[in-house]
């Protein structure tokens, strides 16, 4: 039962083509006009949306700065490395070596060597060779050759000495020689290190000789001079102070600063978005409420003729679907559109500002993807429409078969129904396959466009970085730009489609709100009070034609009803019986002639006044969600429970109501709790509560079985006493005791009189009456 109450609307796929407005521009203009009272909030939201977008464009640049700062901590301080290398290598030159060695190569020492008994002849020979080569050898070779001599010899040649206040033993000197020869700096004696590398200061860091020696040792051990990795690995073994000088430093202070700026920006942007969303939610929901109220108000101001031409479902879908559509799109699309546009333009500007080559790369690669995508999607539109259509056909068929299932079964129509079903189902399947596939393409294609832009930016960025035209941070920034740039494009496209549907929806809503209303009754001053009305009604040459009909439904109708009379209107379907009621109640305006109540034209009375004089019970039973009591009391106040019970007793409902679990407070939820006949009795009870001079019963007992009807009839006869009543009835037995029977056919009264008179006349009425008893 629940589903029935909802407005039916085929589910639209995510990519279903938007419903188009007839006049997009005027619909949107109108929409914005209606939004005027929300102007301030909307403007604030738009500003916030723009601010948020601007922040999200600026953030990547800060992030790039951050990356740059971090990458400053990656590469060694080349300047210091050079300086240090130079210092340590010059420290180790020959001159200095010789000074330190203080070589005692004179006659005395030569003699001492040659005459020493501890020195073997071979060593002596080497020594003399050394002496001989002295004159021809280069200075660095001399030291090398010296190193080759045995330590016994060297002990004599290199005596302990004092250099720069440091005593250097001959053993130290020998070690130094050996080290110089083998290039093994770690073997440098501590004493010598001290004198060899004088303390230096680089960038405020004092480097003692030991550290310099270590550094020298490290660079000396690098084998492959082109391998940075090996070099860095050696560096990691360097003394702390050395590393301090040559290792890269990050400006932590700066990094912290950028970090704080970024946090602030992100927070601000989130806050802006939140406030913007909240205010747009406020606007859209309050606007939706306003629209719904005005539609609902409008329903009560429209003439009945409007409802002849428009279905309930149509109006309902405006109250819910269309208004929802407007509210939802306004909530999402408006701000999205503004921020997406800002983002889009802002990103382009920022990209060009940062680097034009990179900008062109990003834009070009994104557009390439988008052209590809729009090519695919433009082809797919027709499948989405086809899907909707085929689904509609299939659903129609299912609805038809299910609701006529009995007939389908008895007439063996299942085979045919199945054949048709398979046909429609197959078509839906084909359309489904295609449209689902194409709508599934969207996501991966968006992803691919993103990747394409990413790679393009990386490659071009790498080239530019190597040429030292940009820093690495720029690449990072552009990676974000590409993302920022591609998402608004699809957002704008989406927002545009939803604007289309919004326009279509608002067109429908405003068309309804702008419908012509009933005549204004402000000028009417006359009024009839219920207690003073005598109860005479006169029809004077009444002519009435429904809109759109060629011929009038009521042609020149005249009749007089006197106070307290019971007037029955009979005739075949379509004779215009109900139209008479509509005219009496001033639901429709008559075209010519007049209807007079106690001699006063109904044209001179307000509708409200007239309605107050009549009690009306219709064939269409009308109950609403609510308790039985609420349904009977309806809009009237000060009705006691006793009064309600009283009328229910009269129509014979009291017993039934008492059997319900909650008695008079039972809810009328759906059709199951209460039958059609009982509903009709309920509406009769509702009418009985009113004490009016006039009573209209339009087939009021048609759904009640004949035995119950008789009971109600009796009660009603009591009720109609003293009132002027109009009774339309299908069953002629009901109206046999009427004072006046009007027999209508094709909009005209063809016979009048009471039952006996009409039967004697043996005309149309008699024929109708007798047909009840024919075979």
């Amino acid at each position: 039962m629940k589903e029935e109450k909802r407005v039916k609307r085929p589910p639209r796929g995510p990519m279903a083509p938007p419903q188009k407005a007839k006049n997009f521009k005027s619909a949107i203009t109108r929409l914005f006009k209606e939004l005027k009272s929300f102007k301030a909030l909307i403007i604030i939201s738009m500003i916030l949306a723009i601010a948020g977008a601007v922040l999200s464009i600026m953030a990547p640049n800060r992030l790039a700065d951050l990356t740059d700062e971090i990458s400053k901590g990656l590469i060694v301080n080349t300047k210091n490395v050079k300086k240090l290398t130079e210092t340590v290598t010059t420290s180790l030159n020959n001159e200095k070596m010789q000074e330190i060695l203080d070589l005692q190569l004179n006659e005395k020492t030569t003699l001492e060597v040659m005459s020493s008994s501890e020195i073997s002849p071979l060593e002596k020979e080497e020594f003399s060779n050394f002496l001989n080569s002295m004159s021809s050898a280069k200075p660095e070779d001399i030291l090398n050759n010296l190193a080759n001599l045995s330590s016994n010899v060297l002990n004599i040649l290199l005596k302990d000495s004092v250099y720069q206040n440091v005593t250097i033993t001959s053993q130290d000197k020998i070690d130094l020689l050996k080290m110089a020869k083998n290039k093994k700096t770690q073997d440098i004696p501590a004493n010598i290190e001290k004198v060899l590398f004088s303390e230096i200061t680089i960038d405020g860091v004092k480097l003692i000789s030991q550290e310099q020696a270590k550094f020298l040792e490290l660079i000396a051990s690098v084998q492959d001079t082109n391998n940075a990795q090996e070099f860095y690995q050696k560096l990691d073994k360097a003394p702390k102070n050395i590393r301090k000088v040559i290792e890269p430093t990050m400006n932590m202070k700066q990094i912290k600063k950028i970090g704080i700026i970024l946090i602030t920006m992100y927070l601000a942007s989130a806050l802006f978005t939140y406030i913007e969303q909240i205010s747009m939610t406020d606007v859209s929901n309050k606007f939706a409420k306003k629209l719904r109220t005005s539609i609902s108000n409008k329903i009560n101001r429209l003439p009945l003729k409007y409802f002849d031409k428009h279905s309930t479902g149509d109006i309902l879908s405006r109250v819910t679907n269309d208004v929802d559509m407007i509210a939802m799109n306004m909530n999402q699309s408006l701000a999205t559109l503004v921020s997406a546009l800002t983002l889009f333009l802002g990103t382009i500007i920022m990209m060009f500002y940062t680097n034009w080559i990179m900008a062109l790369t990003a834009i070009f690669s994104s557009f390439l993807g988008f052209i590809f995508m729009s090519l695919v999607l433009s082809k797919s539109q027709k499948y989405f429409s086809a899907r909707q259509e085929e689904l509609g056909n299939l659903n129609g068929h299912i609805e038809e078969v299910y609701s006529g299932l009995n007939v389908v079964k008895v007439y063996n129509g299942t085979k045919e129904a199945n054949k048709k079903f398979d046909e429609y189902n197959k078509k839906v399947y084909e359309a489904n396959r295609k449209s689902q596939f194409l709508s599934g393409l969207m996501m991966p294609m968006m992803g691919f466009i993103g990747n394409l832009g990413y790679v393009a930016v990386c490659i071009v960025g790498a080239v530019l970085t190597m040429k030292n035209q940009i820093s690495f941070g720029v690449i990072v920034a552009f990676i974000t730009y590409v993302r920022l740039f591609t998402s608004p494009l699809s957002q704008i496209a989406q927002a545009m489609t939803s604007m289309q549907s919004t326009a279509a929806a608002s067109e429908r809503v405003f068309a309804f709100v702008d419908e012509e209303e009933m005549d204004d009754e402000k000028n009417i001053i006359k009024s009839l009070s219920r207690s003073k009305v005598k109860g005479n009604i006169e029809f004077k040459n009444v002519v009435f034609k429904y809109d759109g009909n060629d011929k009038p439904t009521i042609k020149n109708f005249s009749a007089m009803a006197h106070s307290g009379e019971k007037i029955a209107i009979v005739g075949p379907t379509g004779a215009g019986k109900t139209t008479m009621v509509n005219l009496l109640m001033k639901f429709y305006e008559i075209d010519s002639g007049d209807i007079l109540i106690d001699g006063i034209s109904t044209k001179e009375l307000t509708r409200e006044n007239i309605h107050g004089l009549f009690t009306m019970v219709l064939q269409d039973t009308w109950v609403f969600d609510g308790t039985i009591k609420e349904n009977i009391v309806y809009n009237r106040q000060n009705i006691s429970d006793e009064e309600v019970k009283e009328v229910c007793k009269i129509v014979g409902l009291d017993h039934f109501i008492k059997t319900l679990p909650k008695g008079y407070n039972s809810k009328i939820l759906d059709n199951d709790t209460i039958s059609a006949g009982q509903k009709q009795l309920l509406t009769i009870a509702r009418g009985m509560l009113e004490d009016t001079p006039f009573l209209i019963l339009d087939e009021a007992t048609s759904n009640v079985d004949t035995r119950t009807e008789e009971l109600v009839q009796k009660a009603m006869d009591k009720l109609t006493e003293g009132r002027t009543s109009f009774i339309i009835a299908h069953r002629l037995s009901t109206i046999k005791n009427a004072d006046l029977i009007l027999v209508m056919k094709d909009g005209n009264i063809i016979e009048t009189g009471n039952h006996e008179q009409l039967m004697q006349l043996n005309g149309f009425y008699a024929e109708l009456y007798n047909s009840q008893f024919e075979i």
Partner: protein
């Protein structure tokens, strides 16, 4: 929901399996990309790198992107096929099932609910399959894979990502917990606002007659206010989600960088550059992890709707078919046109009381039997037992001397011309509607025209633009109730059945048409057996047999005259319609 996938075309499983493998490939390719990205980063950072290396890595990366696109397209193709195949087959299953349900089972579900189940519910699941299945496979694979790639890089970064995921999921969880139940309230309020408006529209004349416009408006305003308030609360609560989501993602990147700065600063010289590359890569993997968790969250939000739909579909599919064909293959012809009820009792399954109790009667060929009684007396149910819309609880019904349960339903139905209380017309021409169904023989145009004439429909049919070929809209909305009813009667006549069943089919007609129609029909159906359910005494007073029902029991059988004397209930009904003098006539 998984159970619904059982027993479907084997292709579906094959497609899903292929998709699974391809999604694996896709995820692999997508996760490979950051590796190349990191290569490129290192190359750019290191002095002396060759351009060719960068191009090579860029090219690989592009290949990955392209490969992932291609596999995504193929997966998309298969998944679209899975979704479409699912709805094709499930809808067919459901449709066939509903066709075979007994009438009370249909009532139990309600026709409108069955329609929704066959249309909207299936579409709902189809959409879930089309979007959800991919995500459902992809999200966990991506999440797990990306996590394993991340884990060994640095515990600080991993912890950070973990915290981000937890914050996101908590926020989503809390918001959903707050808002979801309230979304249901909103749905109810929307139904209510629809209800109030519908009420105002359908009762517009009553509303105006009672001067209740203000009353209605107040009612509407009340619901409107509540709806707006609830919507505002929901949407404002939910509005916090997007900013937080973005905040978490941005902060995650930022803090990965800040932590990275510290790590690099304290790292050995040799590790710095690779650490930097790791940092860039990590931030993109972290994003992948976050994204896949978001996808999972999305699926869990989509899931309930689809699984409710699946449950509703399964409810119908699991319903047992209670009315089955008999085994009779050849139909003996020694007795024709008789209907006999032998001590028939009927009650709905699960009901406590009998709706019909111990009904026995027999109609012979060419006779008319009428059923009368007040609303709820069981007269419609009684005739609906004959075409087996329901099966009797006790006793048996014989048609042509054979128990109706022994017939094949097709054969039984061919003997019957049935006209329901509410005329059923289908989208199609008048001729198609009258010649509807399949009774083993072609219904000629002449037969159709004759049937229309007898049913007193000729007058208005000939006035229509295309006469017999005029189009009737779905459910016959373009013609009046009386006209629909006459066409429904014509349909029964055209079939030339052995047995006519008129289930209160004449009440929509005015007395005159009713009388003429029955007169014509009598002439035409002399050979046929007629069962009429009626409310009007006039309609049935000339029947050969009248059966008076009261609360499911037979309180009188006989002719009009006999019953007037013997049956108090019948007399009361008669007297409420015709005066004593006329009855005496």
């Amino acid at each position: 929901m998984l159970k619904l996938l059982k027993g479907l075309n084997k292709k579906i499983y094959f497609y899903i399996a292929i998709s699974f493998i391809l999604i694996f490939a896709q995820v692999w390719l997508e996760l490979k990309m950051p590796d190349y990205m990191s290569e490129i980063t290192v190359l750019v950072q290191t002095e002396g790198s060759k351009m060719a290396d960068i191009l090579k890595n860029g090219g690989y990366m592009m290949l990955c992107a392209l490969g992932s696109l291609v596999s995504a397209i193929i997966v998309g193709y298969f998944i679209a096929n899975v979704a479409a195949l699912f709805s094709l087959e499930t809808r067919k299953k459901l449709f066939t099932k509903v066709e075979n349900l007994a009438v009370h089972e249909v009532k139990q579900f309600s026709t409108s609910s069955l329609i929704t189940r066959t249309t909207n519910d299936i579409t709902q699941i189809e959409m879930f399959l089309a979007m959800g299945v991919q995500l459902l496979i992809k999200a966990p694979i991506t999440a797990i894979w990306a996590v394993t790639k991340i884990l060994n890089k640095s515990w600080q970064w991993s912890t950070l990502t973990g915290i981000a995921v937890i914050i996101l999921l908590t926020v989503i969880g809390i918001l959903t917990a707050i808002v979801m139940p309230r979304f249901k309230i909103v749905q109810k309020l929307i139904d209510k606002i629809n209800g109030v408006t519908r009420e105002n529209l359908t009762g517009i004349r009553v509303v105006r007659a009672f001067n209740a416009e203000k009353f209605q408006q107040d009612k509407f305003d009340d619901v409107n206010n509540r709806l707006t308030k609830q919507q505002l609360f929901n949407q404002k609560t939910f509005a916090i989600m997007m900013p937080i989501m973005y905040l978490v993602m941005y902060f995650l990147t930022l803090f990965i960088y800040l932590i990275g700065a510290n790590l690099i600063d304290t790292a050995l010289m040799a590790d710095k550059i690779s650490l930097f590359g790791d940092m860039v890569v990590f931030s993109s993997y972290a994003m992948q992890v976050i994204m896949s968790f978001l996808m999972l969250a999305m699926i869990f939000m989509m899931m309930p709707r689809a699984s409710i739909s699946a449950k509703r579909i399964r409810e119908v599919l699991d319903e047992d078919i209670t009315i089955t064909d008999g085994n009779l293959t050849t139909i003996p012809t020694n007795e024709v046109g008789t209907v006999e009820f032998k001590n028939v009792s009927f009650m709905y399954p699960d009901a406590e009381e009998y709706l019909l109790e111990d009904i026995s009667f027999k109609v012979k060929k060419g006779q008319t039997v009428a059923f009368i009684g007040s609303t709820g007396s069981g007269k419609s149910t009684l005739v609906n037992l004959i075409p087996r819309f329901y099966d009797v609880t006790k006793g048996e019904i014989l048609v042509d001397g054979i128990n109706i349960k022994d017939y094949k339903q097709y054969d039984l139905h061919n003997k019957i011309g049935y006209v329901p209380q509410k005329a059923v017309l289908f989208n199609g021409t008048i001729k198609e509607n009258v010649a509807y169904g399949d009774n083993g023989q072609e219904i000629s145009d002449k037969q159709v025209e004759e049937a229309i004439r007898i049913a007193q429909a000729e007058e208005f049919v000939l006035k229509m633009d295309n006469k017999y070929n005029s189009h009737i809209a779905a459910r016959g909305t373009n013609i009046s109730g009386g006209q629909k009813q006459r066409l429904a009667i014509a349909r029964a006549i055209a079939k030339k059945p052995e047995i006519y069943i008129f289930d209160d089919s004449f009440s929509a007609l005015d007395y005159k048409t009713d009388a003429t129609l029955r007169k014509e029909l009598k002439k035409y159906t002399k050979e046929a057996t007629t069962l009429i359910v009626a409310q009007r005494i006039g309609t049935i007073m000339h029947a050969d047999q009248i059966i008076v029902l009261d609360n499911g029991k037979c309180v009188g059988i006989g002719t009009h005259k006999e019953l007037l004397k013997s049956c108090e209930v019948y007399k009361q009904i008669a007297l409420s319609q015709i005066s004593e003098e006329e009855l005496a006539k």
